[in-house]
């Protein structure tokens, strides 16, 4: 009986904290994708600079105001530019960055395909 009580109380506690945890996780996820401008090379989540600490507070505030992840990114991008995001979106400044791997893949594939076809012809 005691075991059952214990289990029920644990489940109840998990239920109580889960919604709070979810919000905290999203906040961590967002701050991990933000680059600290003071100690460049660190994310805002990892950094303990004045700027990063303020930004953590701001992200929490904005989430409480009801903004979603993308709205926060847009808000910060507008103020600090693409550089603040570790995962920049697809825009005219970044299309080359995003398309380069695909181009290389296609180019490499074409070379292999040509070799295979040539070999078959020889056989």
């Amino acid at each position: 009986m005691n075991v059952l009580k214990f289990l029920v109380s644990i489940i109840f506690l998990i239920y109580c904290f889960s919604s709070d945890l979810k919000a905290k996780n999203l906040e961590i996820e967002i701050t991990k994708n933000l680059r600290c401008l003071i100690c460049q090379g660190q994310s805002v989540y990892d950094s303990d600079s004045e700027f990063a600490n303020s930004l953590k507070i701001l992200v929490e505030k904005k989430l409480n105001e009801g903004l979603d992840e993308n709205q926060i990114y847009v808000y910060l991008k507008d103020k600090y530019g693409d550089w603040i995001l570790y995962d920049p979106g697809f825009s005219k400044n970044t299309y080359f960055l995003w398309l380069l791997p695909i181009l290389m893949f296609i180019f490499g594939g074409a070379i292999i395909l040509r070799k295979v076809i040539l070999k078959k012809k020889k056989l």
């Binding site: 401008l37 003071i38 460049q40 004045e50 700027f51 600490n53 303020s54 930004l55 507070i57 701001l58 505030k61 103020k79 600090y80 530019g81 550089w83």
Partner: protein
């Protein structure tokens, strides 16, 4: 013939790579946000420095006057260096200097103003640094020249003779 093309191609490729990386070495890799001007000033609620009265940014930046917003803190060494330029600017009639006290201790800040003079027409508090982010600032000191609710000039870092002259020119 085929054997000759390959080494040439290799040398060519590597010299291009060398050139690109060599050029890249000389670039500074510290990013500063692009200075966009003519952007609207943010709207925020804050407290006045001395009286701790609640104020909104609408009550601070009114009409078509020139406002110079200066983000400062008593713990910031460059702020001490630029302070004399702010005192100089405060003698100008047509420009109002607004201070934003960034993450500071009240007594230290007050002593700072007593020792170095108070050039500010109004000071408001930014205890958690979130208002600085609203401005798009990321450190202290930073200075913004504002007219008609628009930022017309943004200065990252301390003021100097040259910037002082520029501000005076802009507010003629």
């Amino acid at each position: 013939m085929k054997t000759k093309i390959f080494p040439i191609f290799l040398i060519f490729t590597f010299s291009i790579i060398f050139f690109v990386f060599y050029k890249g070495l000389q670039n500074t890799n510290v990013y500063t946000p692009a200075i966009k001007s003519e952007i609207e000033i943010p709207n925020f609620d804050t407290e006045e420095f001395f009286s701790k009265d609640k104020i909104n940014s609408d009550q601070i930046f009114i009409g078509s006057d020139y406002y110079l917003l200066n983000i400062w803190a008593s713990w910031c060494i460059p702020c001490k260096e630029e302070h004399k330029y702010l005192v100089d600017l405060s003698k100008k009639e047509n420009i109002k200097i607004i201070g934003q006290n960034y993450k500071d201790n009240f007594d230290n800040a007050k002593n700072f103003l007593i020792n170095l003079d108070n050039p500010y027409d109004l000071i408001f508090l930014d205890n958690d640094g979130t208002i600085a982010i609203e401005w798009g600032a990321y450190g202290v000191p930073e200075t913004f020249l504002i007219q008609n609710n628009k930022i017309i000039k943004k200065i990252i870092g301390p003021l100097n003779e040259k910037l002082l002259f520029e501000i005076k020119e802009l507010t003629q």
